[in-house]
Amino acid sequence: MSYWPWWIGAIALSAVSLFYFLLIGRLLGVSGSWAKVVFWREQSKIESENKKFTDDSPEEINNTLLAETLAEFGEDAVAELQGMDTDTDSQPVSKTKETSWISHLVFLVSMFIGSLVYSLATGHFNLRYDLSAVHSQIFGSTTEVWLALFFGGAMVGFGTQMAGGCTSGHGLSGCARLLPASLLSTGLFVGSAVSISLLMKAFIS
């Protein structure tokens, strides 16, 4: 199969990174989307709580806070608070904007559709029950391949959440900002992938 030359791929990948930033307003990162989708129940609850909070007027929030202060610390504390001359009285309550977990799900599913459409259009589509010839040579029968993929996937899911990022979050967005954590993480995951692949190559040759 023929793929794009490296320089076209590099331009396209960085263009996606820019496109994501311009459209979404955040830096590209996929492992965060996974966490939001897997914990969609908790995420829905947080989103509805946030919505309730932002729907309330500043006066209502202020009254609630004063009532809680009264209950917890007494009238003196309330009088002290009301007597304080601060500029914050006139500032609007900050409204947190959390991206819905459904948007993250849409993002993940769209990657599948984008790949499917491209594969069908260019003849890359190949319906199969394993991953590739080399992968099957390493792991064996279809059942073993599926098991390897499950455990490999579990390591990817666990590892990216533990490290706080993946190839896009740490590798692309983080390394491009020269963040020490991303440089370290990318060096580690690439080094680990290379070492285990060299071992697998030695195993099949």
Partner: protein, 136 residues
Amino acid sequence: MKEHFKYAIVGLVFGAVITGIGFGDYDELFKMFTLVDARLWLTFAFSVILTMIILFLLRKRIPRQDKLIQPGTLPGSMLFGFGWAICGACPAIVFVHLGQGSVAAISTIAGIVFGVWLQRKLHAKLFRWDTGTCGV
């Protein structure tokens, strides 16, 4: 709805681009990781350099997103690297496997879901340090 649409557009383009580059082809990835072929290395390295230039130009508009060196950076990154070599997928590439027709990617997706779920559960009980943010 507008937000969903934005994510859909970026997702479609991202999926097509990864497929076109060949990151979703395990054989290509294996050639990269066994240091046989430099094409994917060059693609990744130069996309980081180009993104670096773009982000430098846009630096005043970039929101703060913490990436911390924390106790999970070393074991988490290594675990991810091992998993990536075994299943040929990072959290984005798995959808490319599926899009290219590999039904076996369903098993990888199930594994990632399990891994994410297990890490969050264990982390909440045992570790509780800040792992930083990732594009959310």
